[in-house]
């Protein structure tokens, strides 16, 4: 079961999406800042022999979801302008909560604002997961934060940490001051550095004293009950599909200002 997320940066990336859908054999395609009409890309997919459906949007228009699964089996959960929660019924694995986010950029908003979004999201997610009793979930998207930032790690934010064993030890819950906080495993920490020559999903240089150059803003985080289905080795930042490159000759994102990420769920 292959999932792909891409912030397409309001660029025309349809040719790249078709190549990605074919080469990566994507089952669930989640897009942010996608500027073209979904019906047009669905037509292009059909011409390429790919059968995708659009998941109907209600209030979160920033995120588009295309899937090979019957969209009638998708349950619409809580949302706001910056995130949406759905339940997708996967074959064999069963029901999974899929959270899709596109938080505001720190270029325009404060860190406090981002933490507020993370907190709003977490509250709505915990309520939804508790009410529906669906324990398997992943949250994917452009968080506009690095994995080490407070909104990603804090218990009243996304509460995602870099070690799956610790999430398992805690059974996915950590009690602080009498309140239980759901935890996530954040595998994106494994992709830091340049061992694979792709140091992040986003490159930005602002000329400040503290400079990362590369950030991993596009992430997926995994709930306790989905960890065993998550194929760690499948998690990748993609720089090309067939002969279409997403980076320039210096290796920096070019087609969009973000690079896509993909991962696989195993049975």
């Amino acid at each position: 079961m292959k999932i792909l997320f891409w912030n397409t940066g309001n660029k025309d990336v349809d040719d790249a999406l078709i190549e990605l859908a074919i080469t990566e054999n994507v089952d669930l395609l989640i897009l942010a800042e996608y500027k073209n009409e979904e019906k047009d890309i669905l037509g292009k997919f059909a011409k390429a022999g790919l059968n995708y459906f659009k998941v109907q949007q209600v209030g979160c228009k920033r995120i588009k979801i295309l899937t090979k699964f019957n969209p009638n089996n998708i349950v619409h959960g809580p949302e706001c302008d910056r995130f949406t929660l759905k339940i997708v019924k996967y074959p064999v694995i069963g029901e999974i909560i899929v959270g899709c986010v596109h938080f505001p950029s720190m270029l325009y908003r404060s860190e406090n604002d981002l933490q507020a979004y993370a907190a709003f999201f977490k509250c709505d997610y915990e309520k939804f997961a508790t009410e529906t009793k669906v324990k398997k979930s992943f949250i994917i998207g452009d968080f506009n934060m690095n994995p080490f930032e407070k909104g990603m790690t804090s218990a009243n934010g996304l509460h995602s940490i870099p070690c799956s064993k610790i999430v398992k030890t805690h059974n996915g819950l950590r009690k602080i001051d009498s309140r239980k906080h759901m935890m996530f495993y954040n595998p994106m920490w494994n992709l830091f550095g340049d061992n694979d020559e792709i140091p992040g999903t986003y490159y930005y240089q602002k000329g400040s004293y503290n400079e990362y150059y590369w950030s991993i803003l596009d992430q997926v985080i995994i709930s306790h009950d989905l960890i065993d289905n998550f194929d760690k080795n499948s998690l990748k930042i993609l720089t090309s599909a067939s002969n279409i490159s997403f980076v320039n000759k210096n290796g920096k994102p070019e087609l969009s200002d973000h690079l896509p990420i993909t991962f696989k769920l195993k049975y």
Binding site: G59, K61, G77, E79, D81, A119, N156
Partner: protein, 145 residues
């Protein structure tokens, strides 16, 4: 002992933000033949601690939902106030604030300003789209049972 209190107390002729919104929820149900509704819930403490200004005594979030699309809810805004009710602090959904061209975080000094803001929010294309989509999904759900 003589009473140290004043002779009488006056009930203020003022509607709380909670009362105003509750009345508007009933209006929404009437206008959509009960397909779409709204609800107000206390803002979770972890959000209150995160969002500056939501640390007031009374702090709520306003959601739009439909009883036929059971798991769905859209967080329109969060709001907070102290006694005596105004000013009220509003933390708007960013899609709505973008459409209105206003800040996400707004302080409103009185009932009239709140009513004016609610009117603007309820008349955005975003809210209209959400209500239309929920009515469509609700009708489609009812046709399948």
């Amino acid at each position: 002992m003589i009473s140290l209190w004043p002779d009488s107390f006056k009930v203020q002729d003022i509607k709380t933000p909670y009362e105003i919104l509750n009345a508007q929820i009933k209006e929404l149900e009437r206008l959509t033949d009960d397909y779409v509704s709204g609800y107000i819930s206390e803002t979770e403490s972890q959000v209150k601690n995160m969002v500056t200004g939501l640390r007031a005594s009374f702090s709520y979030s306003f959601f739009i939902h439909s009883k036929f699309v059971t798991a769905y809810q859209f967080r329109v805004f969060s709001f907070a106030y102290e006694i005596p009710f105004y000013p009220v602090f509003i933390y708007l959904d960013s899609g709505i604030s973008d459409e209105l061209g206003c800040d996400k975080e707004i302080n409103l000094g009185n009932e009239e300003q709140l009513i004016e803001l609610l009117k603007n929010v309820f008349n955005t294309r975003k809210i209209s789209d959400i209500i239309s989509s929920l009515m469509t999904l609700s009708k489609s759900y009812l046709n399948t049972i």
